[in-house]
Symmetry: C2
Subunit: 359 residues, 2 copies
């Protein structure tokens, strides 16, 4: 570990600084298994679909719950930037939180075990990832140099060893891998059984497919860039909510000098979604990603964009300019991105340099 003091891994580290955001359409029985790790944290539940359905939350959890009626009431006409009948609605929870860190998890995910058989404390690992620096400017071949028992290897410039502040921690999944519909169809029985004991920084200038299933981030640094787009009912596309957020947020992190990590912690993803349903939801995305990825790879933000919100406004403008020719949907998306930032700023009035006062 490269000269860095880490807080010990307690049962519920930084519990007053983290909100857990869960999008759901059903009762949250999955939280029973998570008690040892998540019960001490505050939950923000975003109920998708029919607001008249009663969501049951296991006893002992502290939570606030928002259904579509609540979203409409709180955001008014701006509520149209929040997806309906799509997991992308979770970003409403990012907006109403007042905490420094967000952890978001899907309700078909369970506690995984490491190779020694020990249950994995996902939050503790995400916080460790977020509280230690990232190293986006040069690759360390022994992976995360801030981990106990490792360091920077020979040939690593000393001027880069302090690293940069980490904004995003992308965790992985054992059992059901996060495949698209064509890959699911071709390999219906493939399971991820390999535990790769590593966390690494995704280098500056490099994009990756960010999955929202097991994701933590620093909302003070990049919250406004964590918009999960316009997906689901009434839209031509689904299942690209987290991808859109991931590409945009990575570009914003690169612009602002923040780091993005991927790897540990793993959770157990229990249920493969129906590949035929997925194919219908994502078929336009499978096509459009051929334009969306190069769009983000070639984005060059102006130096005036020095906050996540300003970066995001500029990305919205470029989306309209460059992607509308792919499909008129992107014009609507670009407008929703502006609405999202307006709503974010209304709920989170800037307090000096976009740092927010905690709740």
């Amino acid at each position: 570990m490269a000269g860095y003091n880490l807080k010990g891994i307690e049962a519920a580290p930084l519990k007053d600084d983290v909100d857990i955001v869960i999008p759901t359409i059903r009762s949250l029985d999955f939280l029973e298994q998570w008690r040892p790790f998540l019960q001490h944290y505050h939950l923000i539940i975003v109920q998708d679909g029919d607001p008249s359905i009663k969501i049951k939350v296991p006893e002992g959890y502290d939570y606030e719950l928002y259904n579509r009626n609540d979203i409409n009431r709180i955001l008014g006409p701006r509520a149209n930037c929040i997806s309906y009948k799509d997991g992308g609605c979770r970003c409403f929870g990012f907006m109403v939180s007042k905490k420094k860190y967000i952890y978001t998890i899907d309700d078909d995910c369970f506690v995984a075990k490491d190779p020694s058989g020990k249950e994995i404390n996902v939050i503790a690992q995400h916080i460790r990832n977020l509280e230690t620096p990232s190293t986006p400017h040069y690759f360390n071949t022994l992976y995360d140099p801030f981990r106990e028992g490792t360091d920077f290897v020979r040939g690593y410039p000393f001027s880069l060893r302090e690293g940069v502040q980490t904004a995003i921690s992308h965790g992985l999944w054992l059992n059901i891998p996060d495949y698209d519909a064509p890959t699911q169809l071709v390999k219906p029985r493939e399971r991820n059984t390999r535990y790769v004991d590593a966390v690494m920084t995704i280098p500056k200038g490099v994009l990756y497919p960010m999955c929202g299933m097991n994701l933590a981030f620093n909302r003070e640094l990049v919250g406004p860039a964590m918009y999960f787009g316009l997906m689901g009912e009434g839209q031509p596309i689904s299942r690209y909510d987290d991808m859109w957020a991931g590409w945009a947020a990575k570009v914003v992190c690169d612009q602002l000098g923040f780091g993005v990590k991927t790897g540990l912690p793993y959770l157990w993803h229990s249920k493969a979604s129906n590949p035929f349903v997925n194919l219908k939801k994502e078929h336009k995305g499978l096509h459009w990603q051929e334009d969306m990825v190069p769009f983000f790879q070639n984005l060059c933000l102006s130096k005036e964009s020095d906050t996540a919100a300003k970066c995001y406004m500029e990305i919205s403008k470029m989306t309209k300019e460059k992607l509308t020719k792919v499909d008129p949907y992107f014009e609507k998306l670009a407008d929703a991105m502006v609405t999202w930032i307006e709503a974010w700023e209304e709920l989170n009035p800037p307090v000096k340099n976009e740092a927010f006062v905690g709740a």
Copy 2:
């Protein structure tokens, strides 16, 4: 595994296509332990230091051995581009080989075991890495998509899934990590005990510290870029031979569209070198790497440089232009780089597009 047919892992895969290059100053008893994995391959031993010392090679190995007298005889006045009293002399072996692949290993390295207790076949893994594509244009969060049991995740553009040809496979080390002298001094007892079960592509545009201890590459693709510099006796610097080669070769791979992988296989690095001796050898390098790394990060080669040799000639020119102001040594190094390419081309006359006919 993303639609790729891999050859099964035999005891000695592609044995007629691989030379093993070993720089040494002593008898090669360490090869006894390697018999199950290396005995079927041809060795090229580059004897460093006093040529009158007799190097003992364990029986049953097929080898050719070159000492300093041989190097002088074969290269004539150009022999001055090959380092003396430094592991960098190994690159002479790359030059006299006629095989497609080179595997180079240090003589203080032994067979490591994977977490199941099975001995690791380093060559088989390196060949697997080299014979499957790399994915330098976008990060796959489940690591190498060409490995059995894994694939490209959701959000990975289909147009990028064929990947590119792999040129370099950088393996890692259990036990003694490859630290510089200051880190060795601060952490004399740190050992690498963590087996990270992954191979990954180092993305395009990203540099890494390449260690020569456990390294394989395709010499037809990048051989001329694998020059280990001017180090050791008569030079102001040591222990940066592999770093120099790694930075230059990565820039060349990025330019030519080839991939570089790091991760598996591990070997067992037995002996920490003396940190005080290392400090003396590398102190200028510790300083100069602050200029060398940005130099390579900002290198922009012309599109006329469409072979490894042409790229390398251009890098030599830029080295002279940009790094001589750091130290006059770099002018000498730049000249040696030209000599290296001249010697390479004399021993490996180009046969149509720089592809060499195998031995």
